[in-house]
Symmetry: C2
Subunit: 284 residues, 2 copies
């Protein structure tokens, strides 16, 4: 496994792999790798010949009051995980390497970035799309892999790739969960013992919604009420949003019809957790 | 010469050229080709093996009151010019092919798009950068060629490419002029006889500025005054701006020092013409 720290280095290593006829898979991460990331790496190894993992805590996707400084950076451990999972190349640039000169150029996706997490994190998604555009242009992957846990991010990136005709495919991999249902996330590290104990209620609320849709409930307000009841069983969970939206537009829907994204964001102590489930309400 | 109308077609033709080891040069145009474009095509043929000319009147770079509808579209004549100049491939997509679904994604370059033409054309440059990002992603050129006549556009595109790490080079080619100095432009067609007769005063004003800088004038206000005097010799010329700015920041400079862009935009009848000159005032 090679580790490139500069854009020049990675470009030359990618060029070599490419000239050997290999297809390139990219797993963009902020490090603090966990079994969720490992599932993306495995998907990449299955679909492509040469797996690149980028590790970069991207400053421009954090708001001024967010956790950029305290975001975990266990770099040696991350490299070990990459090594153990047969990653071919790690790209770990410095902020200076990525944004050496003042960055003036932004990739903005309208509309899809406004609801859900966009409301509390107004500049988050332009930070994500901009860094992904940069990473895609540097690595030139055939396929990039993202997790369903960050559903809105995945939808925004898919739209960016389609709108700008970027020459790659996006594969979104299923959310990986702890045994009790909690979606695996680097931010779970911020939970204390009692917060960790209550955290699975988020997934329980999502499952309740799923089963209500499956059993034919059409009024989304009724489903949202049941979801909130479950979250309210914990005094530690402060919901930021509980929503049922169309997967294409991310706009709330009053009636459970078509493809739906059911999504929750909640604060637990200092952690902000998100989770979601998609259901197809057009199916019987 | 082949003509591709769809993204799928051009991608397959580019892939074939690429697999034959050819380097790709792109000349993005809105058609209405003239000797300025031909100079770009010639530069592309000199620097790359396979020259692609895109012909697309890009709706999203025109303001609501601008000349999108009346912009000239002499398509057969454009094809002939490409043929005569040994272009390998013309890409002439429909608006539907380029923006089939509602476009939500924009590439925005801050700061550099605000002064000069940005003031009167507030959404122009985001339309240009967005379509260029799309064209670059579709054609994947090694080098794209732009004209110095649209100096701000060239500087904005160079910045976008650098900031987003786009894997291509930009070459900016000198402005081509008529015998009397008027910069060649598709919009010169809009000039009536008397407007056409006065139009060279724009270049005369730029030349005056150049010679004043060369002879050591440091106060830009003094230079701007002389430029306006020359433009005022015509009753048909309505200057929109007359400016001396730093070529890096595009901000006005009070003292003629370093690399300067001296730029004019003016209305003549229904035509809006722009022209510019760069000078290096750090040289003796």
């Amino acid at each position: 496994m090679e580790v490139a720290k500069t854009i020049e280095e990675i470009r030359s290593l990618i060029k070599k792999a490419r000239s050997n006829g290999k297809t390139i898979g990219l797993v963009p991460t902020m490090g603090a790798l966990h079994i969720g990331h490992i599932s993306l790496i495995k998907a990449a190894a299955e679909k492509t010949d040469f797996v690149v993992v980028s590790i970069f805590v991207n400053p421009i996707q954090f708001g001024p009051s967010e956790d950029f400084d305290k975001y975990p950076r266990p770099f040696e451990q991350d490299l070990q995980i990459c090594q153990d999972n047969s990653v071919n190349l790690v790209f770990a640039p410095s902020s200076d390497e990525m944004y050496g000169r003042e960055n003036l150029t932004w990739v903005d996706v309208d509309k899809l970035t406004e609801p859900l997490c966009g409301r509390s994190r107004p500049d988050h998604f332009r930070g994500v799309t901009t860094v992904c555009a940069k990473l895609f242009n540097i690595v030139l992957p055939d396929i990039a892999f993202f997790g369903q846990k960050d559903a809105q991010q995945a939808i925004v990136i898919e739209r960016m790739v389609a709108d700008l005709n970027m020459p790659l495919d996006i594969i979104v991999c299923p959310t990986v969960r702890e045994e009790d249902g909690l979606a695996v996330s680097s931010r779970n590290k911020y939970l204390n013992e009692s917060e960790r104990k209550d955290a699975p209620l988020i997934y329980e609320a999502l499952q309740k919604a799923q089963s209500m849709v499956a059993s034919g409930t059409k009024e989304t307000q009724q489903i949202l009420d049941e979801m909130r009841k479950i979250l309210n069983r914990s005094k530690l969970i402060e919901p930021e949003y509980v929503e049922i939206v169309d997967t294409e537009t991310l706009q709330p829907t009053g009636t459970a019809e078509g493809k739906l994204l059911i999504a929750i964001a909640a604060k637990l102590g200092s952690a902000r957790l998100i989770d979601n489930i998609t259901v197809d309400a057009s199916k019987d």
